[in-house]
Symmetry: C2
Subunit: 339 residues, 2 copies
């Protein structure tokens, strides 16, 4: 009984604090929520909750504020799903449906996500390593430069300029282009490595160096830096919490400028279908210790291809944010399926 009420108290504290951004006291609590007991009782519960580490008081004789642990419990056990309103759903749907290509889908996604959640939004491009190759193209830019272009089933287009030490004959480019097309089209990343294995041996010795460079670039394209494409938006929302709050925006902005950091934020989304929430210190990046990250995977067909999410202050509206992130991820999946 008393255990149950304690959780209700915690929930009430989180809700009130998220709404007002001010420490909440026992009296205000009984007034706003009909808990059916007196402030004194609540005080006892609060003392217990504080003992357990779920809430804390900024200073003696102030109300209580949820700790990271408190938010965690709230998210895990206390929050109820807060479905989006119909107009919100429609707005998301319409906005995303107008996208003309993948870049546009990503740009629009980050925009709508930031707008709906009123927070900083992150959207990761579909991972190349989880896509299959649709087309490979080689275009000579000059006698010693070749542009390599890879198109995937997720409509992603990767380009890479290759610098060769010696002039490359047109015929070799054409030859290589068709060879690559045949052996790579329809292959996933894992298979690509195998398909390229030893491809240089079927060329004349003097051509092999070039072939090898192209093959290496191709593989490289599909791994390192390309998976790092993440779009960012809504940073202005950070400033809304203005000064005052323990959320110093400078370190956050700095962290968000590092692709590597963004990768870690989105990359560690757990495999499970739902929405992942990392609260305050739970997330691995220093400088984001007073922020929470809410992420979800999106898919093409049945394969998870990448993640998206938002970054906000720990005192965010978790149910609402989680619902929004989830919804947007689902719509993006749908858009990708259509293409």
């Amino acid at each position: 009984m008393q255990e149950e009420r304690r959780l209700a108290v915690l929930r009430a504290i989180v809700e009130d604090y998220v709404a007002t951004h001010e420490p909440v006291g026992s009296k205000a609590l009984v007034e706003r929520h009909n808990l059916g007991v007196s402030p004194a009782t609540i005080r006892n519960d609060m003392a217990a909750l504080e003992e357990e580490g779920y809430i804390a008081q900024p200073h003696t004789s102030a109300g209580r504020v949820p700790t990271d642990l408190g938010y965690r419990l709230f998210v895990d056990r206390l929050s109820e799903v807060k479905p989006l309103t119909a107009p919100e759903r429609r707005a998301i749907e319409r906005f995303l449906d107008d996208a003309v290509d993948l870049d546009d889908v990503m740009a629009r996604t980050v925009r709508i996500l930031a707008q709906v959640t009123q927070q900083v939004a992150l959207v990761q491009y579909p991972s190349l390593t989880r896509s299959t190759i649709k087309h490979v193209e080689l275009v000579p830019m000059s006698s010693t430069r070749i542009m390599l272009i890879v198109i995937t089933d997720t409509a992603r287009v990767e380009q890479r300029l290759i610098e060769c030490s010696a002039p490359v004959p047109e015929t070799l480019v054409a030859d290589l282009r068709s060879r690559l097309g045949v052996s790579l089209t329809g292959k996933g990343y894992g298979e690509a490595a195998g398909a390229l294995e030893g491809i240089d041996e079927s060329f004349a010795p003097e051509e092999r160096a070039i072939v090898r460079v192209v093959a290496a670039t191709l593989l490289e394209t599909m791994t390192e830096r390309t998976d790092e494409r993440i779009v960012l938006g809504g940073t202005a929302h950070l400033a809304r919490y203005g000064q005052a709050f323990p959320l110093a925006i400078q370190p956050v902005l700095e962290a968000l400028e590092e692709q590597v950091v963004l990768m870690r934020l989105l990359g560690e989304t757990t495999g499970q279908a739902g929405v992942t929430v990392r609260i305050g210190h739970e997330n691995p990046i220093e400088g984001l210790a007073s922020t929470s990250v809410v992420t979800a995977r999106y898919e093409r067909g049945e394969h998870a291809v990448a993640s998206l999410g938002v970054v906000g202050p720990t005192h965010m509206d978790y149910p609402g944010t989680m619902a929004s992130v989830h919804a947007v991820a689902r719509y993006v999946s749908r858009i990708l399926d259509e293409q």
Copy 2:
């Protein structure tokens, strides 16, 4: 004489204010700069400068602060070029030289520019309308979808997904591809429109609809939204001025999220070779009224292709910033020439 000294006083005020970010008084001025006159004299000059609108005092009995007009005069007539240090030049050069493709050049440019100037950096992709077409590629994605890819001499790669109402036969795609290749390769934007004129007439009647869609998409690709590609970086520097300063960062961040706004900022760079500075209210975007924008064009060969620049508080180090922006623009031009 006195006119000359007045300008010296204005210069001193600007320099001191930029350095300390605090209103500067007559006494401090004579101490730091050897003007050879007494504070009282300086006060007279200051009164005159204030009368003319070059400086202002935040409140009675405070030092003076330069106005936008004051900065303007400083930039136009008083500032001396402050060349970059050798290590700075080397750092820029090395960092940019490592770029592997156009995306990388742009990303690295924005990064180094933000780092060197300690401000928000903007870099515009080479304008398509000022580039020439190197290659056109059509790739069937499904029976009714075609991916259109355009590669320019500036190594820019544009993609566009085309949705057709009816299935498109492979042969038509191949045919169209080669036709487009022949008629567009080497053409600039202005010529492209002419070259595509009436291209549909040489196809079978039932194919013309598709051909027309592709041609239209191609032209569209080279105009509207594609010119809008602008990379942004260093927003964390905004937070450095922290609260306190008249620079409220929220409106600035908001403005910087709008591609259209960024376009206007960079787009109105004057045609002249040097560096353009727009100070405070001079720049057309509300919300950026207390910021200055320093931009420069960069080139490929002899043609200006796009602009880059930085956004910072009006009390920035103009000589240093202008030198950095100029230098980076020149290095980018050089990199593009090499490709």
